[in-house]
């Protein structure tokens, strides 16, 4: 539905008060100031950003409680943001600053200088059973591994190797919650949400597998 007046005044009004490009730049700057204020005053429920890694650009989301989501590059940012809005709160905004602490810890981890993460985690995307499984998983030391059966047993479900596998596959915070450290009992790699090549890469990085 277009505005009705087609005389000179109508056309000038529609053209807007300023050169569009300068205006778009000004709106973009105002948006950055807004995002910094939202961050400073903690007005959003979820903040997201991206982090470089040997796997490419990871997408990450934090809440006031901690890191809630880490996504591999092929999970696109819009898809992750939609999911966060649906499952946590529609008050999701982009972080105006790099997610510095996460970036530093991941850098250190990928260069072999860090064996565990000290980031606080927000577990709210993880259901009760998955939480037992992933809590056990988080306790597997750097450089070693466990099996689906063992993890299931430790989570109180001795016959639930498959269920444990599903919970691990749906881990919303891979790498940091080290679901890559759970393998088949016979020594097979099993599965990995981010693809088996990455699982092998991480296990070799940690020295759990021969390169």
């Amino acid at each position: 539905m277009r505005p009705s007046a087609n005389d000179a005044v109508g056309r000038a009004l529609r053209a807007g008060p300023a050169p569009r490009r300068a205006e778009a730049a000004a709106a973009a700057e105002a948006t950055e100031r807004l995002l910094r204020r939202i961050a400073r005053e903690e007005l959003a429920d979820v903040t997201y950003g991206s982090v470089d890694s040997p796997f490419g650009t990871l997408h990450a989301a934090v809440t006031p409680r901690g890191l809630v989501r880490l996504a591999f590059p092929e999970e696109t940012e819009p898809a992750m943001v939609e999911e966060l809005a649906r499952r946590i709160s529609p008050r999701v905004v982009r972080s105006p600053e790099p997610l510095e602490r996460l970036e530093r810890e991941l850098d250190e981890y990928f260069s072999g200088r860090r064996r565990s993460f000290s980031l606080k985690l927000d577990w709210r995307l993880i259901g009760p059973f998955a939480r037992r499984v992933l809590t056990r998983t988080a306790a597997i030391p750097y450089g070693s591994f466990s099996s689906y059966g063992e993890i299931a047993a430790e989570a109180g479900s001795p016959r639930g190797a498959r269920a444990a596998g599903n919970a691990l596959g749906a881990n919303p915070i891979p790498i940091v919650i080290p679901c890559h450290r759970v393998l088949h009992t016979g020594g097979g790699l099993g599965g990995y949400g981010g693809g088996l090549e990455r699982k092998r890469f991480l296990l070799e990085l940690e020295g759990a597998l021969e390169g």
Partner: protein, 163 residues
């Protein structure tokens, strides 16, 4: 949940230019930033309670309209000294840079001089492409009153620019 409202960032990306244009036209570039911040902070606070499938563009321009009114009231209270600011506004790079239309600064100066309801009706219609019904919702009046405000505003602008 398929018709739920988009994530706030998506909403912000989709509406920031329209809100910015509306505010620059309503209060001038130097006050637009404050109003812009206030508009989206209010929107963020209310966002989770918003009905799914709402007309988000009309909703956020409603908020912007109110913030612009607050800004005008504040300016009126501050009285005389701001006359200078007002004059500066129309000479800012924004108002002036469009050399293709030399009357641009004059026209937008005239828009800012319109009574608030007429100004909002004109700006919402031409810059934000809202229908009469949406303009009415945004400024809180009947559709007829919105149509009338728009008409009167345009008449005044035509007279002023022709003069």
């Amino acid at each position: 949940m398929s018709e739920s409202n988009p994530p706030f960032q998506v909403f912000l990306d989709q509406n920031r230019d329209a809100v910015w244009r509306f505010l620059v036209s309503s209060v001038g570039p130097s006050e637009a930033d404050d109003c812009f911040q206030e508009t989206f902070v209010s929107a963020l606070r209310a966002y989770p309670r918003l009905r799914p499938g709402s007309n988000l563009r009309a909703w956020v321009l409603t908020i912007a309209h109110r913030k612009a009114l607050d800004c005008h009231r504040g300016r009126a209270r501050r009285a005389l000294p701001v006359a200078g600011v007002e004059a500066l506004d129309t000479r800012s790079p924004y108002a002036q840079a469009d050399t293709a239309q030399p009357a641009d600064a004059e026209l937008w100066g005239a828009v800012r001089e319109l009574p608030p309801r007429q100004r909002s009706a004109v700006v919402l219609r031409f810059l934000a492409d809202l229908a009469h019904r949406e303009i009415a919702a945004a400024i809180g009046c009947s559709e007829d009153a919105a149509r009338r405000s728009l008409h009167e505003g345009l008449q005044k602008l035509r007279a002023q620019v022709a003069a």
